[in-house]
Symmetry: C2
Subunit: 389 residues, 2 copies
C-alpha cells in the first residue's frame, strides 16, 4: 500500500506502453513513472521523456531532448532499486532478459509481452518463485481469469479463454488463401500492433495465450479451452469444481487490464475508462472453435504441450512467417505451413536453459526464413503479387 508505486514502462512507445502511460497519468497520487525504454519511435519517446521526466531511460539511440536523468540498459532499469513495478510491453523476445532481471530483483512484473512466458515459461515461473516476485498479467484474457480467481481457495476445473475469432472466422479455406495484409490488419474489435493483429487473424495469438495461461496459472493444457465469442465482452471465464463459473466482462479496452494490474488488489474509478452499456447489448454469442480452419491454434497448443524449446521455435517461426506475409511475399495460409514445417524440423531440447532457448530461437528464424523463401519462389505466389499491384 503506502506511498506512490514507482513504475518502469519497458516498451513505452508501443500500443500497450502508451496505454500504460495513459493510465499512470490518471493516478498521479498512486503512480509515478521512474523509467521509460523505447526502440524505434524516438520522437514519441522524447515526448514521453518531456512529459513524465523519468529518472532513467533506455532509448535505442540517444534522444535529442536535453535530459538530466540516467541512461541505463533495460536490464539495469528493470532491476533498479528505485523501481517497484515493471510493465513489460516490449515486442517479441526483447522482454525476456529484462523480465528475468526484474524477477531476480524481486520486482512485481506486469507482463503484456506474450513471448516471455511462451518462450521461457518454465524458467520465468521458477525464477519468480525463487525470488518471491509476482507476475501479473496484462493481456485481457489472462487478466479476466486472474480477476475471476480472486478469493477462490479451490483449484478450478477449467479455464475458458474467449476468442473474438478475428476478421476471417466465417471465411472458407479458399477465401483464407486470398486474404491480403491490409484485410488482415483490420481487426473487428481490438486496435493493436501489426504482429499481434495478424496473430489474431490466424488465431496463433489465442494459441500463445493458452501457453501463457498454462504457465501463469500452472494449469494443465487439457483443462484450458477456447470459446469463440465475437463481441469480446466476456474476456474469459473460470469453471470451478462445483460447476459454477465466473466471467469477467467489460468494454474491450486494454487500459482496464493494465489499470487492474497497477491498482491490484484494489480497483480505482477512472472516468476515462468506458463502461458497458446494457441498453446496447442484446446478446453475447458463443460457438466452438474450428481447429481445422485455424491450424496455428492447434500448432501452438501442441508446441505448448510438447514443452522444451518447441514453443520458442513456434514464436520465432511465426514472427518470420508473419513478416513474410506482411511484406506480400507469402500467403496468409502459408503462415501455418511455415510454422508447421519449422516445428517438424526442430530437434527439441528438454528442460532448456535460457541459452538453449535463444539458440532454438535463432535456429528457428533461419529455418523459417529458408522455408518462407522457398514458398516465395512458387509461380502462383508471384503472379498473385503482380495482380495485386
Amino acid at each position: 500500500m503506502g506511498g506512490v508505486k514507482k513504475v518502469a514502462v519497458l516498451g513505452s512507445t508501443g500500443s500497450i506502453g502508451r496505454q500504460a502511460l495513459d493510465v499512470i497519468r490518471a493516478f498521479p497520487d498512486e503512480l509515478e513513472v521512474v523509467a521509460l525504454t523505447g526502440n524505434k519511435n524516438l520522437k514519441l519517446l522524447e515526448r514521453q521523456i518531456r512529459q513524465f521526466k523519468p529518472k532513467m531511460v533506455c532509448p535505442s539511440v540517444k534522444p535529442a531532448v536535453s535530459y538530466g536523468g540516467q541512461f541505463l540498459s533495460v536490464e539495469d532499469i528493470a532491476s533498479h532499486p528505485e523501481v517497484d513495478f515493471v510493465v513489460v510491453a516490449t515486442v517479441g523476445k526483447a522482454g525476456l532478459s529484462p523480465t528475468l532481471a526484474a524477477l531476480r530483483a524481486g520486482k512485481t512484473v506486469a507482463l503484456a509481452s506474450k513471448e516471455v512466458l511462451v518462450m521461457a515459461g518454465e524458467i520465468i515461473v521458477r525464477e519468480a518463485s525463487l525470488h518471491k516476485a509476482e507476475i501479473l498479467p496484462i493481456d485481457s484474457e489472462h487478466s479476466a481469469i486472474w480477476q475471476c480467481l480472486q478469493g477462490e481457495d479451490t483449484k478450478p476445473r477449467r479455464l475458458l479463454l474467449t476468442a473474438s475469432g478475428g476478421p476471417f472466422y466465417r471465411y472458407s479455406q479458399a477465401q483464407l488463401a486470398e486474404v491480403t495484409p491490409d484485410q488482415a490488419l483490420q481487426h473487428p474489435v481490438w486496435q493493436m500492433g501489426k504482429k499481434v493483429t495478424i496473430d489474431s487473424a490466424t488465431l496463433m495469438n489465442k494459441g500463445l495465450e493458452v501457453i501463457e495461461a498454462h504457465w501463469l496459472f500452472s494449469f494443465p493444457f487439457d483443462s484450458i479451452e477456447i470459446l469463440i465469442h465475437p463481441q469480446s465482452i466476456i474476456h474469459s471465464m473460470v469453471e470451478f469444481t462445483d460447476g459454477s463459473l465466473k466471467a469477467q466482462l467489460s468494454w474491450p479496452d486494454m487500459r482496464l487490464p493494465i489499470q487492474y494490474a497497477l491498482s491490484y488488489p484494489r480497483r480505482w474509478p477512472n472516468p476515462e475508462l468506458p463502461r458497458l452499456n446494457w441498453n446496447n447489448i442484446s446478446s453475447l454469442d458463443f460457438e466452438s472453435v474450428d481447429y481445422d480452419k485455424f491450424p496455428c491454434l492447434k500448432l501452438a497448443v501442441e508446441a505448448g504441450k510438447s514443452g522444451g524449446t518447441y514453443s520458442a521455435v513456434l514464436c520465432a517461426a511465426d514472427e518470420v512467417a508473419v513478416e513474410f506475409f506482411l511484406s506480400h511475399r507469402t500467403r496468409f495460409t502459408d503462415i501455418a505451413r511455415i510454422v508447421q514445417e519449422t516445428l517438424d524440423q526442430h530437434q527439441d531440447i528438454s528442460r532448456p536453459s535460457l541459452e538453449d532457448i535463444l539458440a532454438a530461437d535463432n535456429w528457428a528464424r533461419e529455418c523459417a526464413t529458408r522455408i518462407s523463401l522457398g514458398r516465395c519462389q512458387k509461380p502462383e505466389g508471384r503472379s498473385r503479387r503482380r495482380i495485386e499491384r
Copy 2:
C-alpha cells in the same frame, strides 16, 4: 474447518429444504443433519427423519414414526448448541423468529427465505452484526453476487440482478389480464413452490430480491439494477468502480447456491450437479426491464426505498393477493392492484421493532383481504370465473 458441519434445515419438506438435504447427503464427511423442521407435509418429514436420524425435530404434529430424538421449538433448534449452521428454507414470515434466534446464538445462517430480510432487514442485519453471526445467501441471484464479491476489497459501483422475465414477459396488458393460475405456475426455467412461481410471473420476486440485496450487501437501492436475461445462465453480475464486471454463471439448479453456502469458502466437486455445456449455448440474451408492464417490481423497489414497515406490508399484501389469484377469485393483474392499494392505505412506522413489523403484517393481511374480496365482487370477475369452470 475442522470436523463435520452440523446443520439444521428449517422447512426441510419444501422445495429448497429437500434440495438442501440432497446436497448434505452427497457430503457425509463434511455435513451432518442434526435437526429438521417441517410443516404440512408430515409424510415426507417422517421419511426424512428415518433417513437422516436428526437429533432434534420440530414437526407441526407429532410424527407416527418411532423417534428417539428431541422435540423442540423451531427457535430452540435454531439456537441449539449442537447446531453450527442453520438453513432457513421456511415459507413467508415463519423464518423471522428462528432466524433471529440463530443469529443471536452466533450461528451461521443460510437464508433461502426472502421474507426474513424483506420484512425485517434492518433488525436482522443489526442482530447479525451485534452477535458476529454470518448471513449467507441461498437465492441464486444473491449467491451469484456474493461469489462475484469474493476477494474484492473495493466497494462495487453497481449490482446487476438478472431476471428470466418469467412466462409472460412478451404478453400484452390485455393478455396479462387473462392469465390463469395454471399458466402462471409454468415457469420457463425454475421448478419452485407455488407462491414464488407466481411472484416470478409478476416480477414481485425480483423486487423482493432487490430489497434482499440491499440488506445483504448493504448496497443503496439506486445502484441495484435489473436486467432481463431469459436463459437464466448468468445469475447476476457486479460492476466494479473501474468498469470491470464479474458474472456468475451455471446451469439453473438451486442445489449449486445451496451447496456453495454449505461449502463456503471452499468449493466441492459434486457429480450430481449439472455442468454448463457450451456446445448448447449459442447466445445469452439481455434486455432492459419494463417496469410499466410489471408494476409489482416497481412497488417492491419503492417499498424497499421507503423503509419502515412498508416492505413487510408489501410481503403480506402480496401473499394474500397471490392466494386470491391461485384460488381463481381474482385476476393476475389484480395482484399488483391489491398490493398497491394496501400500501397506499398503510400508516408507516419508521425504525420499527419486531412487534411493529408483525403488527403491520397483520394489518396488511386484513386490509389486502378486504381489498381482494372487493375485487371478487365485481361482475366481470364473477363471469370470468364461471367461464373458466
